[in-house]
């Protein structure tokens, strides 16, 4: 069964004072998936999210929600954890959650019940009647996450949910996001922790300077990535690895090599080139992590053999991409 589209953005533009914050962006988000919206700071992610949330209207293009009546934005079906964090400092946790849930159409009694359940789950129940300013930053972040999902939305937009969290809480949030997915809640995830994004996302959209630079299924993107990484433990003279015409860059230390193969070099080619010349103890050939793909794409622009994209989403020309 093909996934249904829950969010459809087509050729969205937005500019402020002559600066193009979002410049012709198109993508779709499927129901029930975790969709990574990535990009460096100032790439236009927040503007894009605000357009999705109907806070800004796009200057051009459309943003539709095919599953809702008339395809329109329905605030009570969407949850949002903003990157800029904050809650009413002088209000009680209980009152705040009930109010925010109420704005999303949850009756007060039900909201209290759900709030309490969530707080118990996150071991914050004794703060139910406390004022928010008594909570630590991490706790406040949990309260905000609860506020984003307490009304059981179809689509949750999490903007930098892991920022400022310790590793334990990062894992907690990661597990919660997985749980949302298992309940068929769609998650639009924007984050800088590439290992977590890689771990969670089904598909990603990478935006830079207001434009798309990468878009598609994460697995596909990696499979089509131009370079392979080789991790090699060996005995013998490693110099030949450095000198090999197949290798783009190499770090060699104590019989352990980290290599990046030249674009388009297939793993078999490399293997046959070294067989018999080195004693291989252990070898792993894999695609680079998302972190590397992110950095490469943003700093150098999309690689020369872009992953195949749907027609209308293809980035045209070179302008607006990496400067180097």
């Amino acid at each position: 069964m093909a996934a249904q589209t829950i969010l459809d953005i087509e050729n969205a533009h937005k500019q402020f004072d002559g600066t193009k914050a979002v410049d012709g962006v198109s993508f779709t988000v499927n129901q029930g998936e975790i969709f990574g919206l990535l990009g460096p700071n100032g790439a236009g992610k927040t503007t894009l999210i605000r357009m999705i949330l109907n806070i800004f209207e796009p200057d051009a293009g459309t943003i539709r929600f095919p599953l809702s009546p008339d395809g329109r934005f329905q605030p009570e079906r969407i949850g949002y954890l903003p990157e800029e964090r904050g809650l009413f400092e002088n209000r009680k946790v209980s009152d705040t959650l009930v109010f925010l849930a109420g704005l999303k159409g949850v009756p007060a009694a039900q909201a209290r019940e759900r709030a309490l359940l969530w707080l118990e789950r996150l071991q914050l129940e004794r703060y139910f009647h406390r004022q928010i300013r008594e909570l630590s930053k991490g706790m406040q972040q949990k309260i905000q996450l609860i506020a984003a999902i307490i009304h059981k939305p179809d689509l949750v937009i999490l903007d930098e949910p892991f920022a400022g969290l310790d590793p334990i809480n990062q894992e907690l949030f990661r597990d919660l996001i997985r749980e949302l997915k298992s309940q068929n809640t769609t998650v639009l995830l924007s984050a800088h922790q590439m290992h977590l994004v890689e771990d969670l996302s089904d598909r990603i959209f990478l935006i830079n300077k207001g434009r798309q630079v990468l878009y598609g299924e994460l697995r596909e993107i990696k499979r089509n990535w131009k370079e392979d990484w080789v991790a090699l433990d060996f005995r013998g003279d490693g110099a030949l690895l450095k000198e090999s015409s197949l290798v783009k860059s190499a770090q060699i230390e104590n019989g352990r090599a980290q290599l990046i193969l030249r674009d388009g070099v297939r793993p078999e080619e490399f293997l046959s080139a070294i067989v018999g010349k080195l004693e291989i103890e252990q070898i792993a050939i894999k695609k680079p992590p998302l972190h590397h793909i992110f950095v490469e794409t943003v700093t150098r622009g999309p690689h020369p053999h872009p992953v195949p994209l749907p027609e209308r989403e293809r980035v045209q020309g070179e302008g607006g991409k990496g400067d180097r």
């Binding site: 806070i55 605030p75 949850g79 990157e83 937009i157």
Partner: protein, 425 residues
């Protein structure tokens, strides 16, 4: 609309429960009442029982007559004897507040000397005694009557008769009932108008300062981000205006109830028949105008509150911006009628006042005052209502646009040019 009401309820109840509100509502009036009571207490002790002790050095033999005449007045006379030279010292010691020397030739010279106790500089509390500090009139009249009675008696008129004649003529104050009622009504209308304008200003300023504080802190702590994903900026703004306006009304009501209770319950304790006065003036209140005042108030409040919400939204997080200056400008038009108060009393139909009446931010105050003072043509009232309603609507629309963009702009205040761009889109 549902969202706006939810925001309004939230703002209203949360602020009502907050310590700041409770302190402002209950502690502030209590402290002012306490201060007032203290001032009254100090004043009363300083004035004493309101009687003036007058020493009389009587060389003409009129003391007992004078005592009779001053019986029931604020003066208590004591006879003193020579030497006169000692009297100033005795007065300084506080034995009496002044002394009167009546020479033996009083009936020929028709003179008496009065020496008041020198006042200490700067302390001129004369509450309860509205008499000039110069010659005490009561004493003068008493002496004149003694003089006259003696003269009449000498002219062969019987003593009793002479005494009665010497009382002179008494004027009894009375006014035609109709006119008196009219006058009372007019005076009341003006005072009620004045009080209503003050209340309007007070309520507006209170709730505006709450709006200002709320918007800036929500902007600073970024709660707006969450709120705007659920409600539109317009709903958020209207909710705040409604909720905090209601809160200011509640505060005003609490103060009015406390104030009236103090006046009616406390009045008799300080010798004011407040209940009787209240009951007497009640029928003269222009009830029919109160409804009109309410409409002016509501529209005026919406206008000013929307304006303030927009200005608060453009304020950068630290309050240090040109917008603070803009905020102080908001209050000038509504204060205008009070500044022009004396002109309104004299010439409620002055052309300048008419022009000000149709400048929406000043309309409520000016029209309330003008309709209170005199009759304003019905078309002017209607026109002012229309102008005000349009002004309020336009301001809310405009403010909504500025609010929507400004509330998400952190770190800097917009320039006028930017504001103009927001308004146009």
């Amino acid at each position: 609309m549902r969202e706006a009401l939810a925001v309004a309820r939230w703002e209203f109840w949360q602020s009502l429960k907050s310590k700041t509100f409770l302190i402002a509502t209950f502690a502030t009036p209590l402290i002012s009442l306490g201060l007032m009571a203290l001032v009254i207490f100090i004043t009363r002790t300083a004035v004493g029982n309101g009687e003036t002790q007058l020493a009389v050095l009587d060389r003409a033999g009129v003391f007992s007559e004078l005592q009779d005449h001053l019986d029931g007045s604020n003066y208590r006379v004591v006879a003193v004897s020579d030497p006169e030279a000692e009297l100033p010292q005795r007065m300084q010691r506080g034995e009496f507040d002044g002394y009167l020397v009546i020479e033996a030739d009083f009936f020929q010279s028709r003179q008496a000397r009065y020496v008041p106790k020198p006042r200490r500089e700067g302390l001129t509390v004369t509450l309860g005694r509205l008499e000039p500090s110069g010659v005490p009139r009561t004493v003068r009249e008493a002496l004149s009557q003694i003089l006259l009675a003696r003269a009449l008696e000498n002219a062969g008129i019987q003593l009793e008769q002479a005494k009665i004649l010497s009382q002179g003529v008494q004027i009894v104050m009375a006014a035609a009932p109709e006119a008196a009622v009219e006058q009372m009504r007019a005076g009341l209308a003006i005072s009620v108008g004045f009080v209503i304008i003050l209340l309007l200003l007070f309520i507006t300023m209170n709730s505006i300062s709450w709006i200002l504080y709320g918007v800036i802190s929500e902007k600073r702590n970024r709660v707006v981000e969450i709120l705007l994903s659920s409600v539109t900026a317009n709903d958020l703004m209207s909710g705040k205006i409604l909720g905090l306006g209601g809160l200011a009304l509640v505060q005003a009501a609490i103060w009015a109830i406390v104030g009236l209770t103090v006046i009616f319950v406390g009045g008799p304790y300080v010798g004011l028949p407040t209940t009787a006065i209240g009951l007497a003036i009640l029928p003269f209140l222009a009830w029919e105008k109160l409804l009109l005042y309410l409409v002016y108030f509501a529209l005026g409040y919406l206008l000013l509150a929307a304006l303030s919400a927009a200005i608060s939204a453009t304020m950068s997080d630290d309050l240090q911006s040109a917008s603070s200056f803009g905020m102080s400008l908001v209050f000038i038009p509504p204060i205008l009628p009070l500044l022009l108060f004396s002109l309104v009393l004299e010439k409620p139909d002055h052309i300048a006042l008419k022009i000000v009446s149709f400048f929406p931010p000043a309309t409520p105050g000016m029209m309330i005052l003008r309709t209170a003072v005199g009759d304003v043509p019905w078309w002017e009232v209607l026109l002012s209502l229309i102008v005000l309603a349009l002004g309020a609507y336009g301001t809310m629309r405009l403010a909504g646009k500025i609010f929507r963009t400004g509330i998400l702009m952190y770190g800097k205040s917009p320039t006028l040019r930017e504001l103009w761009r927001w308004v146009r889109t």
